[in-house]
């Protein structure tokens, strides 16, 4: 050990230099032009903080969806492709509730607050039931089938739900702002939080009075806080409650759990209910934050969230959260300092790199060769 520390590792140095050289050489092709990035940061260091804020807020939404993936995967080892689309349904549900209750036209802060809470509750309940229903209809009977069969079923379900979203977005009698241009195009999710705070006379930018050229909006804060609260609640639930323990037991060894008298079906249904509820909550949050309802939004969100779940170590709640924030940050920095057209490729490239060095994700446990 002593000699190794003293002796300068020439081989490692050479490799590091070479890698650095290649990054400088090839990097600019994908926008990673280090001198340019350096100059940009130097010119406006405060903007780095701004990208941080945007990244974390976006990451929070990804993280909550990722929790649903990670829980379901932890228990039945299924990539629930339909999960992202359940989130999309969450956006539409909450928008519809806001429209039907007349909250969209209201300027009264009390009414808006009540409307938002109602939308949150209904979105959570509806998505939870939808997710559990998907499990009941499409996955349960396949529990003993080859492991890839439920995957196809999940893909099929994802197509079906996307189509439901497409139909939903065409129902202008339900939500007048959908307009008459059909369900395929993006629909606006009105900025209810902005309206709410404007009606209270608050400035939506919390840092407006600080004199810094930074924006930390109430929306950012709310999204982050809600994400952390949901994650903590979920963590405590899984660690402390009886059902949570049953879930962990089922995830570890389903047969053994069954022998100990755990009702596997009930545990799995509960998992899907919780995952769906989280997706519903994420739906409302994303709607309020990005102001968009679109039938196709679940696809990309699902892909990113699943990536986040894997990045953090699938099956691990804290890991899913961490992965979500990381992806949000990466995307925000890539948009900001590199080139927006490479962002998606960069996110996945980072995922591949991290998995190469930590094959089970950031917080995943080395499970060994599970038989």
């Amino acid at each position: 050990m002593e000699t190794a520390r003293k002796k300068f590792n020439w081989r490692r140095f050479a490799i590091a230099t070479l890698v650095l050289y290649i990054v400088f050489l090839i990097g600019p092709i994908v926008g990673l032009d280090i001198p340019v990035v350096y100059a940009a940061i130097k010119a406006n260091p405060l903007q780095l903080v701004q990208f941080l804020i945007i990244g974390i807020s976006n990451g929070a939404i990804v993280a909550i969806i990722a929790l649903g993936y990670t829980m379901v995967y932890g228990i039945i080892e299924l990539i629930n492709f339909a999960h992202g689309d359940v989130y999309m349904i969450g956006v539409f549900t909450s928008l519809t509730v806001l429209s039907v209750t007349g909250t969209l036209e209201s300027k009264d802060p009390v009414k808006i607050t009540l409307g938002l809470i109602l939308a949150l509750v209904i979105a959570i309940v509806f998505c939870a039931i939808l997710n559990a229903a998907i499990e009941r209809l499409a996955y349960r009977r396949l529990r003993n089938a080859p492991r890839l069969a439920p995957l196809i079923s999940a893909i099929g379900m994802s197509f079906i739900i996307e189509n439901i979203g497409l139909m939903w977005a065409a129902q202008a009698w339900l939500v007048p702002s959908f307009g008459t241009t059909g369900g395929a195009s993006q629909k606006v999710f009105p900025d209810m939080l902005g309206i709410l705070f404007a009606s209270l006379g608050w400035n939506i930018n919390l840092l407006a009075s600080s004199g810094l050229a930074l924006r930390l909006t109430i929306k950012d804060l709310l999204v982050i806080v809600l994400a952390v609260v949901l994650m903590t609640g979920l963590y405590l639930f899984v660690q402390r409650t009886r059902l949570g323990k049953a879930m962990r037991a089922t995830a570890q060894n389903r047969d053994a759990a069954k022998m100990l008298g755990i009702d596997i079906d009930r545990v799995i249904t509960a998992t899907f209910l919780i995952g769906g509820g989280l997706a519903g909550a994420a739906g409302l949050m994303a709607g309020l934050y990005n102001n968009t309802a679109w039938w196709f939004m679940g696809f990309r969100a699902g892909l990113q969230s699943f990536t986040a779940a894997v990045l953090g170590g699938i099956g691990n709640i804290t890991g899913g959260m961490l992965g979500g924030f990381l992806i949000g940050l990466l995307a925000s920095f890539s948009d900001g300092y590199l080139n927006a057209r490479w962002t998606n490729a960069l996110v996945f490239a980072t995922l591949v790199l991290i998995l190469l060095f930590r094959p089970t994700g950031l917080l995943g446990e080395q499970t060994g060769q599970k038989a």
Partner: protein
């Protein structure tokens, strides 16, 4: 009476299919129904004298054929009118139905009867019959002007892709969610090496090998670092790769490479150098402009393959498939193939037995990619244009569906899966959509008098809006009915339905692992 019931079911289903296509389709649908019904009936019967079997199934064949003909005639007499189309011409009706009826009866009795022969003979005759059908199909299609050959060619491209992916997923048990990337690499290699865009025109017969080789190299390069990953981690890495590749092809349109030492590093130390620029503003892939046109293959007697004549392309892709099936069969039965399956079953045990898991898996990745290279080269030349949007995630998913739907790990299954899934996507669903749409505008809508209801029905019943739903339902129902695929691998089936054991017991660690790898 059980065989009679399946005869009636087949007849009704086939007859309803003619509703969608009309015209000559009844002839082809009848023959195909005959083949299917004959195979199905034959397998359910005891092996006895062929003539006796034929006699036994003859009534069923006649009934099935009759139902088909009656429905097809009904279609021509009434349904065509309801969807606002002219009835077919007299000669088409008579001969179409005659051929359909005869095809149904003859093929049913023939194929069922073949079951009476000894097993080897039966197989031989069935293969001969199949070969005849395959060869005759494009010519019949041309005569009947149905234009299904082009759709079949497209389905066969996915069959090749499925066969390649089957090596990775089915044999070696590695879940690959980004297989379309190799398809893209094959297609782009072909596009860049035989189009006016870069001024390079290499003969197709050479390019197809370069494309396959290129895909194999990339399969190797992706596989080498990722193989320590297990199960679904590997899946997500391949998914990431599948997402990156289309982005690369879309964005590599303005490449500038500057030598960093002379451009930045030395200037930082205030050493004056002239910046060496290796490449400047080079457009490699043309992005969304797409590469077109792309050179086409040509053969001495036939001349250059033309897009308007699908027959030459049909036989080219059949040749590629035959070659692929031959190679994959040899691979499967080779030492390497057995190693793949050993690794799929139990990697630890296999390693103990002296199999090198990394080498074996790498071989699976590279060989699997090779076949998508063939498919990519064929696709590029056939379409004569490639665009990055074709190789997105959804394409990877469809290839995976082909493999799983058909029967994972089974060559015949993959072929059937590819044909069924792509026919559903290309022929059945669009035809169903057109049929429903015309039915709606010509019959349903005029019969609704209330304008509000009429508008609501018109807005919400446009079948175009339901294509995702139909596709999704197809997948979900398929999996609910036959989760092991249409033609399952014997091993998988054995694991799923062990004799006399309750199904729930099938979920032993062995089963799970067998698929998971």
């Amino acid at each position: 009476m059980k065989i009679m019931r399946s005869g009636i079911t087949f007849g009704i289903l086939a007859g309803l299919l003619t509703f969608l296509f009309g015209g000559w389709s009844v002839a082809i649908i009848g023959s195909l129904m005959g083949v299917g019904l004959g195979m199905g009936l034959g397998n359910g019967l005891e092996r006895k004298d062929p003539l006796k079997i034929a006699k036994d199934v003859a009534p069923t064949a006649l009934v099935a054929g009759a139902i088909l003909t009656l429905l097809s005639l009904y279609q021509n007499g009434f349904v065509q009118d309801a969807i606002g189309k002219q009835p077919a011409q007299l000669n088409v009706v008579i001969f179409g139905n005659l051929f359909g009826f005869l095809g149904a009866v003859i093929f049913t009795t023939l194929l069922a009867g073949l079951h009476g022969l000894p097993e080897k003979e039966e197989l031989k005759w069935k293969m001969i019959l199949l070969a005849l059908l395959v060869v005759a199909f494009p010519f019949i299609d041309k005569l009947t002007a149905l234009r299904w050959t082009a759709q079949i060619i497209f389905a066969l491209i996915f069959v090749i892709l499925g066969l390649g992916l089957n090596i990775v997923v089915g044999y070696a048990g590695l879940l690959d969610l980004g297989y379309a990337a190799f398809f893209a690499i094959g297609a782009y290699t072909t596009g860049m090496l035989s189009s006016p865009v870069h001024g390079i025109h290499i003969n197709f017969w050479i390019v197809i090998w370069i494309a396959a080789g290129m895909a194999a190299i990339w399969g190797f390069m992706l596989g080498a670092p990722t193989l320590p990953l297990r199960g679904d981690y590997l899946a997500i890495v391949t998914l990431g790769f599948g997402e990156i590749v289309p982005v690369l092809f879309r964005n590599l349109i303005d490449i500038t490479i500057k030598e960093p030492l002379t451009c930045w590093i030395l200037p930082m130390f205030r050493i004056k150098t002239s910046c060496i620029i290796l490449v400047e503003h080079y457009d490699l892939t043309l992005g969304e402009k797409g590469i077109s046109p792309i050179g086409r293959p040509s053969l001495p007697l036939i001349g250059e393959f033309e897009s308007s004549n699908p027959i030459t392309w049909y036989f080219l892709i059949i040749a590629i498939i035959l070659l692929s099936v031959f190679v994959i069969r040899r691979l499967r039965d080779s030492r390497l193939g057995r190693s793949w399956m050993a690794i799929r079953e139990d990697e630890l045990a296999a390693a103990q037995m002296g199999i090198d898991p990394v080498k074996t898996k790498l071989a699976a990745f590279a060989l699997g990619a090779t076949f998508s290279g063939f498919a990519g080269a064929f696709y590029a030349a056939y379409i004569s244009g490639i665009f990055p949007s074709v190789f997105e995630f959804s394409t990877s998913i469809i290839i995976l569906c082909v493999v799983i739907l058909g029967g994972i790990g089974n060559i015949n299954g993959v072929i059937v899966g590819g044909l069924v899934l792509m026919m559903a996507d290309r022929l059945f669903l669009p035809a169903l959509k057109d049929f429903l749409a015309s039915l709606l505008t010509h019959t349903v809508l005029p019969s609704i008098s209330n304008p509000v209801v009429q508008l609501a029905v018109k807005d919400n019943t446009n079948p175009i809006l339901y294509r995702f739903l139909l596709f999704g339902l197809t997948l979900v129902i398929m999996m609910a009915v036959r989760p092991e695929g249409m033609i399952p691998n014997a091993q998988v089936r054995a694991e799923l339905h062990p004799d006399d054991e309750p199904v729930i017991e099938a979920e032993t660690p062995m089963t799970k692992k067998a698929i998971k790898g």
